[in-house]
């Protein structure tokens, strides 16, 4: 695959991913494999680029005081171990199975997007002992209303182990698995959407690093291919976040819902045809 084509695919993936508040991986892997790249190499490259996009956006969110650092550091213990497990699974699994799994994740992400279309967050009235001991609470500035929103996380005893599974998906498929993480943060731990999205972003960096180390040790990181992918995804994400501000939320969600269904169907069909 030529440098220019790889760069173009990666810019598009980074752009679309950022527009939907996701990493580029969910678009990048279907696109790279469509143009003939082996799925395991595509997964390894995608996971490496995820470190760049997540760190870039996490830096801005942390400075805006939206991210809960303590929560992130507690949860990344689990996602990191999950990603190591996931990456090892990828090395031993048949490529066809990876297509099915990726298709499944794309459909589940579409379902999460649909389920969260009328999100309404209510602060948790009670906090369990473990979450309290872990000091999992905070407040963030809401720019629209100018108010400070206070929150307390709950059920961290359940959130942690579930995040292990999100880490497995991330390491296994080379994606940030943001939709899955946000779902756990929202539904299980009762966090406000802004905090769950931004904290998930912070966690992804460490998660992706542990998976990438496994892929590097197994010769799946090809620097010649990594350069256009990293530069393209970072550039695309930079542009995508600027467009996102101008587009109505509803339009972005609808676009993404359709895109995820389309990519999921395409990947599943390729899996059925024997990749």
């Amino acid at each position: 695959m030529s440098f220019q084509l790889l760069l173009l695919i990666s810019v598009a993936a980074g752009f679309i991913g950022a527009m939907g508040g996701m990493g580029g991986g969910i678009v990048l892997i279907p696109a790279l494999t469509f143009f003939g790249m082996d799925i395991k190499h595509a997964i390894a490259l995608s996971l490496l680029s995820v470190i760049a996009t997540s760190s870039g956006s996490a830096a801005a969110y942390v400075r805006d005081r939206l991210t809960n650092l303590k929560l992130g550091m507690f949860l990344e213990m689990f996602t990191m171990l999950g990603a190591l497990t996931g990456a090892w699974l990828t090395l031993s699994i048949r490529p066809q199975a990876l297509f099915f799994l990726l298709g499944g994740v794309l459909f589940s992400s579409a379902a999460v997007l649909w389920a969260r279309r009328r999100e309404e967050w209510r602060p948790a009235d009670r906090q369990d002992a473990l979450s309290k001991w872990l000091e999992l609470e905070g407040a963030y500035p809401e720019h629209v209303t100018g108010e400070t929103v206070a929150y307390r996380a709950r059920r961290s005893y359940l959130g942690g182990p579930l995040m292990f599974l999100a880490g497995v998906v991330a390491g296994l498929l080379g994606i940030g698995a943001g939709a899955l993480k946000v779902l756990i943060h929202d539904l299980v731990m009762g966090l406000p959407p802004k905090v769950s999205t931004t904290t998930s972003n912070l966690i992804i960096g460490v998660t992706a690093l542990s998976g990438t180390s496994v892929y590097l040790a197994n010769g799946l990181i090809d620097p010649g291919l990594a350069v256009p992918v990293i530069l393209g995804v970072v550039g695309g994400a930079f542009l995508g976040t600027r467009v996102l501000v101008r587009l109505p939320d509803r339009a972005v969600r609808m676009f993404f819902f359709c895109l995820l269904l389309l990519l999921g169907t395409e990947i599943l069909i390729r899996g059925l045809r024997g990749a």
Partner: protein, 130 residues
Amino acid sequence: MESPAAARPRTSFDMDTLVGTVLSTGVIASVALLSIGIVWQWIAIGKLGLDYTLPRINVVRFISGEVLGMLHEGFGPTRFVNLGIIVLMLTPYLRVLLSMFYFILVARNYKYATITAFVCTVLTFTLFLR
């Protein structure tokens, strides 16, 4: 409800600033190194793109190889590209490492110092994976 973050004093140096600075600097440095590598190659041979692969190697070997190469053989496009990949991979690692020291030395929060030390230990193990 009390709002701990709002009550938190916004000093010139705190955990958010530290983490934010480490992450943004790492990504910018990595993108700069990769760009230098690719532009150098383009100028040298008139073709975009590098065509080389890495052997099965762990992160620590990869880093030590590049540092030794830098000292003995100097710089070239592939050196910059490899350094760019190394800087990118070390960015989240450095974030965890500095957070751990922040929890120990500045915040004196030993609960989170232990949590970050665990994350740091496992990440260090992954850097030695073969």
